[in-house]
């Protein structure tokens, strides 16, 4: 089936089988290697992307369902944060500053999801940040540094 998806501002047209999931499409057909595939079942959060403005798990959506959609991955992080400067975005810089990543596998999904989380809730409580992180598996950091990084960018 022929589909056309706008990925990180680029129009990607491809012929895919219906059984291909969006996370595979993004990696294999549009070169969006920032989409990490973890559990493949919508649990770990590593493949989180923004589709038509809404955060989704790319592994629980068929590529054919994204036909004519706009998808933003971690490559659009500056856009997702509304950041127009040069270099790292505020959230990326905070992650580096606070050592909020080690192997980095969960990081793209965390950055994308957190930018939307902070877009919708600009002053989250500590409990709300914990609840947000409840849906992203990170096996390295123990989460403390991720919480510190997110807290540091709050107004």
């Amino acid at each position: 089936m022929d589909i056309a998806v706008q990925v990180d501002g680029r129009q990607v047209e491809a012929s895919v089988r219906p059984r291909m999931v969006l996370s595979d499409f993004l990696r294999c057909h549009s070169g969006a290697l920032g989409v990490h595939i973890g559990c493949g079942q919508g649990v770990c959060g590593a493949c989180t992307v923004v589709m038509d403005g809404v955060p989704v798990r790319a592994c629980t959506i068929l590529a054919v369902q994204a036909d004519q959609a706009t998808v933003q991955t971690v490559a659009s992080q500056a856009l997702l944060e509304g950041f127009t400067g040069e270099g790292l975005t505020p959230l990326q810089a905070a992650f580096r500053e606070h050592h909020a990543l080690q192997c980095g596998f969960c990081t793209p999904g965390l950055l994308v999801a957190t930018s939307v989380f902070l877009r919708d809730n600009q002053s989250p409580t500590h409990e709300e940040i914990l609840a947000h992180l409840n849906h992203h598996l990170c096996r390295c950091t123990g989460y403390a540094n991720i919480i510190a990084a997110i807290t540091s960018v709050l107004p």
């Binding site: 089936m1 089988r17 219906p18 059984r19 798990r57």
Partner: protein
């Protein structure tokens, strides 16, 4: 992981979707239950009918007696709906516990009820309130059925009808951790039709508990002793097969079912 091969159809209307139905076809709405099953090859449909572009199934409508939700109403859309908050407060309370916010953006209320998965909260609410699925058949007939009843191969659920509640409610659950793997949950709601109680996780499917409803009504707004609740719950489940798996024994589920009803009743008393 990649699903087994299937054909894919993307109808624009309910009539087109119904015309595509045949044995081996599978309806896809939110896909948050179905796609993980597809990639694990736990299900192998030969046709997937994607409802996501069907017009007119995304509305939440309040009628004189019901809150009517189309098959594409997302879980998060329902959770944030002021109409649902006013008329079905127990559903709003429960939706916080369903999956996680990202999954709730895609997953649908009707899909959740049709899947009727172990560990889903909404079937307990549906059982408690007597919610019904609106079923459309290929030959043009429509009917209503309760959650858990099998949907015929030539039919699909287009809406869910929740009896309007208003009033007070409570929802409590015990899970392995927040928003994951509910073991037992209970919903109590005090609507125009009286008090209703639903429990999930004690039996194999959501369970309406009329005996518990009578007991809670007799002591309302007080809350009965736990021992009385446990004895009454045992009467409500009499004759049914108790659920017992690696996560919790039947004995534990029965005990926690009574405790969750007690906590939900306290929550309901608190929001009167």
């Amino acid at each position: 992981m990649t699903p087994a091969a299937f054909q894919y159809a993307r109808p624009q209307t309910v009539a087109e979707a119904l015309a595509l139905l045949r044995p081996g076809a599978q309806i896809l709405a939110g896909g948050q239950t179905l796609v993980p099953l597809l990639v694990k090859r736990a299900v192998r449909p030969d046709l997937v009918i994607d409802l996501n572009r069907v017009v007119g199934l995304s509305d939440i409508e309040v009628t004189s007696s019901h809150v009517k939700m189309g098959a594409l109403v997302r879980l998060e859309q329902a959770r944030l709906s002021p109409a649902v908050g006013a008329e079905l407060a127990v559903l709003t309370a429960a939706l916080v516990h369903v999956a996680n916010p990202v999954i709730r953006q895609r997953g649908t209320v009707v899909g959740n009820l049709v899947a009727n998965t172990q560990g889903a909260e909404l079937p307990a609410i549906a059982a408690a309130l007597g919610a019904e699925l609106l079923i459309s058949f290929q030959d043009g007939r429509t009917s209503r059925q309760h959650v858990g009843e099998r949907i015929p191969a030539d039919a699909m659920a287009t809406h869910v009808l929740w009896p309007r509640q208003g009033g007070a409610c409570g929802f409590k659950e015990v899970s392995r951790r927040d928003e994951h793997g509910v073991v037992v949950c209970a919903a109590v709601s005090h609507g125009p039709g009286g008090l209703s109680v639903g429990v999930w996780g004690v039996c194999a499917s959501g369970l309406a508990c009329p005996q518990l409803a009578l007991l809670l009504t007799s002591s309302f707004p007080g809350v009965p002793e736990l021992s009385d609740l446990a004895a009454t719950l045992a009467r409500d489940v009499a004759g049914r097969e108790l659920h017992d798996d690696g996560h919790a024994s039947a004995t534990y589920r029965l005990a926690m079912g009574a405790e969750m009803v007690r906590q939900a009743a306290f929550a309901m008393a608190g929001c009167r």
